[in-house]
Subunit: 468 residues, 2 copies
């Protein structure tokens, strides 16, 4: 097989930073077009993700995501040596249309993260709440809203979060938004206007926020995560005045911030006059004990708490909330109002009724054993079929990180699994530069037990072919 | 009464353009603080709105809105000569707390525009639609959404709009958003990224969009409105490559774009390679005949059509839609997805069911005679009690523009009405510079017949005191 090294100069795709299209999509479109036009030929080797990220001034996660997408679409092939080539069948020879031998669309069994089991959405209870709301609310609530959200929902959520998550929230400090996507975007926008400059993120962590933060005008830096949560000494050295933590269940490693880490974090924020953003995305799902309370409860003036119904009820509801220090309430409410004039009042009031009638607690009680069973099965199957894969993290949440043996690049495993119609997802884009050890992030929330068992079987078969 | 002319230099309030707080609110806060701190004393005369707008680099509408708000709050007083003073009771004398003799909160009878009668929201029919949706939808629809919106709602709306508004829409060209607020913000953002530079707006027109457009990076220019709609010759001279029109019922004048204007508008767009944004905010409410079809139907490739349920059902639903030319669909869907991951799926599917079961048509048929009666009553009362006030515009919509006799500044009338707990709203901020003749914009959609009659009585009494 011939390898024509492609200088990254040839891949200088035009990227519009102010544009509305996500950067990884722009990059994908650019590479796709070059392959279709024959400018990148079969078996051409692409620049490393790090080199291309440097050349284009992008974060490495963006390039990794684009490469992975194009691998999944069959344009690129990920090779065992850690490099990426144009697929033999992808490049168009003149006069022919492209034939794509890779499967397209989502894989039959997909361990993709972030999907709860929406087949368990409590439809009957939700309908009862809608009926009560439509029967009872005064007309005036259907008019334009405050940017902060319905008082009824802010009250119900403050009660719930103080009880279940150990927060210290008054309804006046809550703000309702369309999930973490809108909440974090508006929060960062307001914080930049208030003078914050440098955001520290856990390394590894969800990579989508990095570009959102940079677009808002923040410098972004990665800070290592230990078994006891974020490394506060490294955070202190980083010079950040903002940090985002997933203290209750680190995304993706699954660690829980220790009491010492939590105290040090708050001490750091006070000493540095800094702010902590606590993304409490899935803390309701702890299976081995009561979940650890939120950091927000320790220092309500130093922490913005973010929660969402996307992991507990359904992403399609687009319901999220922030608990804000006093000084941030008015600017955030104004920003929300300017953004979309507030969230849908019927959804808010229905959710308020649902929470205050105990239906939210009931739903969570029902879901915990289901997810716990799926998690236990996944761990057992991995131990059985892939004993040198190492699952880590506490018994919680809807995902699990698995460290890979050093001879197996995550991308190679993902490509081999994809050929068996199974989706597994490399840890790579979650790392800052330089990347840490290889791993896979398994989401299991939306799968059946049968799918988990079969998926790991197929994955083990695929891994078997990669070994001598 | 002594008049201490205040140089506008003393009013240089710090304005954060990139900030999340609307400009007029920043200006209000700055002026309020100066009055509270005694830096602006009782009876001090403020700079003219035009001078202050120039000094601060703001649009005049922003300054006018801030002054009006502070008049309503009792900090400022609007005087007959057209100038604005600090209220005698507002400025704090040292050691005393401010006493405010003006009424605060919304007036008892408020002719504010943009509120439909939410007491008529079809709760029973809406609940039936929610029930059908929760009984019937497949689980997968509750997961994360496309940025474009639910196919079911796009299909139902395309059918409805093609039938009722004469649009030429395929479901693939529709995008669902959180009302015009989010839709216009995302649209302008995408158009700027696509290279558009100069937006023409009708003069007079809704002023909120001006700062949104400038924040998106567009130059903004006003183009006069005639009885036959926007002046297309002036539009052509303006050098704009984008125009926003309210062709079916001009906001606020109430004119309808003539067939000649509509043809000239499309011809202009084709010749200039320009784009028309058609804000069809209330076209369902035409009382004297069938509403004129949308301009979009004439040139689907040259028009972005924007509609909303805020005027027909309830603002609290936050449901809006765009019909897009092919080339804009993908970038808008990507922008919507990045903004908030899509709109709530239950709201979308409920509205789809509501529309496709004919409930939307039924609701509109029921509301038209109600609004028509209110409008007729308002016109009759004005003719009876204030015969030199001149209502204009076709019999349509939820508002009416009334020209004032030249001796009566709109702000003076508004202040006198406010003292009787009646809210009437000057046309002033709708004008670009230089402002046109004085007028008041009356919204009547959310009022009862009794309130309209009593409101005009009280207004007439107030106007009586202003005349010798």
């Amino acid at each position: 097989m011939s390898r024509s090294r492609t200088g990254s100069g040839e891949l200088l795709v035009e990227i519009q930073r102010s544009g509305a299209v996500p950067l990884h999509q722009q990059l994908e479109a650019g590479i796709r077009a070059r392959i279709r036009e024959g400018l990148l030929r079969a078996d051409a080797v692409l620049p490393s993700t790090r080199a291309l990220a440097n050349d284009l001034g992008l974060s490495r996660g963006v390039v990794v995501e684009a490469y992975q997408q194009l691998v999944a679409e069959g344009y690129l092939v990920s090779r065992t040596g850690g490099y990426t080539q144009v697929a033999p069948t992808a490049a168009r020879t003149s006069g022919q249309t492209r034939t794509n031998q890779q499967p397209t669309g989502p894989p039959r069994i997909d361990f993709k993260y972030s999907r709860p089991d929406v087949s368990q959405f409590p439809r009957a209870a939700w309908l009862r709440s809608v009926r009560r709301v439509l029967n009872e609310i005064p007309h005036s609530t259907l008019s334009y809203l405050s940017g902060q959200g319905s008082p009824e929902l802010r009250e119900a959520l403050a009660d719930y979060l103080n009880r279940v998550r150990g927060t210290s929230a008054r309804p006046e400090n809550l703000l309702i938004c369309h999930g973490f996507a809108q909440g974090s975007r508006l929060l960062l926008q307001v914080l930049v206007a208030a003078g914050y400059r440098k955001l520290a993120l856990e390394d590894p962590s969800d990579y989508e926020l990095r570009d959102i933060a940079r677009a808002a005008g923040l410098e972004v830096v990665g800070v290592p995560v230990l078994d006891s949560g974020i490394d506060v000494e490294a955070l202190d050295r980083s010079g950040a005045d903002l940090v985002l933590v997933t203290a209750a269940h680190q995304m993706p490693i699954g660690a829980v911030a220790s009491p010492a880490t939590r105290a040090a974090l708050v001490e750091w924020a006070v000493r540095r006059n800094a702010l902590i953003i606590e993304d409490d995305y899935d803390a309701e799902y702890r299976y081995d004990r009561e979940p650890i309370g939120a950091v927000q409860g320790l220092a309500p003036d130093r922490v913005v708490y973010a929660g969402t119904a996307s992991k507990t009820l359904a992403p399609g509801l687009r319901l999220g909330w922030l608990i804000l220090p006093d000084a941030l309430v008015e600017p955030l409410a104004a920003a929300k109002l300017a953004d979309d004039r507030g969230s849908s009042v019927l959804d808010q009031l229905t959710f308020a009724d649902f929470v205050s009638h105990g239906e939210f607690d009931r739903h969570l009680r029902r879901m915990r054993p289901r997810y716990r069973n799926l998690r236990d099965l996944l761990v057992t199957q991995l131990a059985d079929r892939l004993p040198d894969f190492e699952p880590v993290g506490v018994s919680a949440g809807l995902h699990i990180l698995v460290w890979l043996p050093p001879d197996l690049p995550a991308e190679t495993v993902a490509t081999a699994a994809r050929e068996r119609d199974v989706g597994v997802h490399p840890l790579t884009p979650y790392w800052f530069t330089p990347p840490g050890p290889p791993g896979l992030v398994f989401g299991y929330g939306s799968l059946t037990e049968k799918a988990v068992a079969e998926g790991i079987d197929l994955l083990a078969d695929a891994v078997g072919t990669l070994r001598p």
